[in-house]
Symmetry: C2
Amino acid sequence: MLTLYDSAISGNAYKVRLILSHLGLSAKRIEMNVDDGSTRTPEFLKVNRNGKVPAIVLEDGTTLSESDAILYYFAEGTPYWPNDKLDRARVLQWMFFEQYNHEPTIAVVRHWVAHLGKTPANEPALPAKTAAGYRALDVMENHLTANDYFVGRHYSIADIALYAYTHVAHEGGFDLGRYPAISAWLKRVASQPGHIRITD
Amino acid sequence: MLTLYDSAISGNAYKVRLILSHLGLSAKRIEMNVDDGSTRTPEFLKVNRNGKVPAIVLEDGTTLSESDAILYYFAEGTPYWPNDKLDRARVLQWMFFEQYNHEPTIAVVRHWVAHLGKTPANEPALPAKTAAGYRALDVMENHLTANDYFVGRHYSIADIALYAYTHVAHEGGFDLGRYPAISAWLKRVASQPGHIRITD
């Protein structure tokens, strides 16, 4: 049995639940609080020395962390990881874009606005983070205007990685109404066999 | 002939030069200024819509960006990308750690301190960025205390990705003297066949 160190509010954790659902796999879910220090205890640091969820414990007891690396692990050998080497590199290109340009802006703004609330510590950084989030959405819109999915003509883990926080970006105040190609792609992703919602 | 949109001061670009050197490949290098808007011109945005270096143009004219995705593209099928699926996932785990926790702290502090100089805009953020960089170094030291390389017993693109900015971290004021395991690993990496320096 797989064990997933999970968080209901984390898009990164949702990515793992989503690929497992697509593949018909199940995991024991251990819900972690990402704001109260639970992921920094000595016990949890044995699971993930970097102190973050998601982390997954495989049947043999080994652990794996970083949401997009976990996506790769389960997708390899399935239709969610392409057959062509250049396409595989492009999947990774979009996943690194997601972790560098998209998650630290869109996910962080959502967490501040929807979960932690504005504080004297985060409020001054909000306008710049929001602007950077819109720049990431602009890059996605540009690509999706000419393409149904991020790589090739097929749904892949690049789409899963980018869907996770894009489809809840409005919770951080982002106006997705400006982005018709992204909006159409969100519907395309949600219609995939085995799709589950972040709240499922 | 490969064409690399390059930057002499960028560790991300150095990663690409390093894997090409290991593999005995060469590329035409186009030096870009990363601070004067050159990577945001309409012409360059056709190469990389995300406006960053490195970007590489392959023989058939297609482009690829994101340094760690480029590393994957060239490493697949070579000893720099492991044979075992779990090891491959761990290579990606460390590369996502690098792009999320290591590069935005250690590389950014180095750029502010060594290249741009402290400004009213970046100076208030420097202490928190530096502390986060040390946390990333702590995670690396913990791993390297028990392991010669990041994945398995072999040098891989995970080591290349993490070496790029770690070995110049002192330029941002980081004291690597505190980290004996990292210091030994830096020497191990620099002794690999085909190694080149960031200034080469």
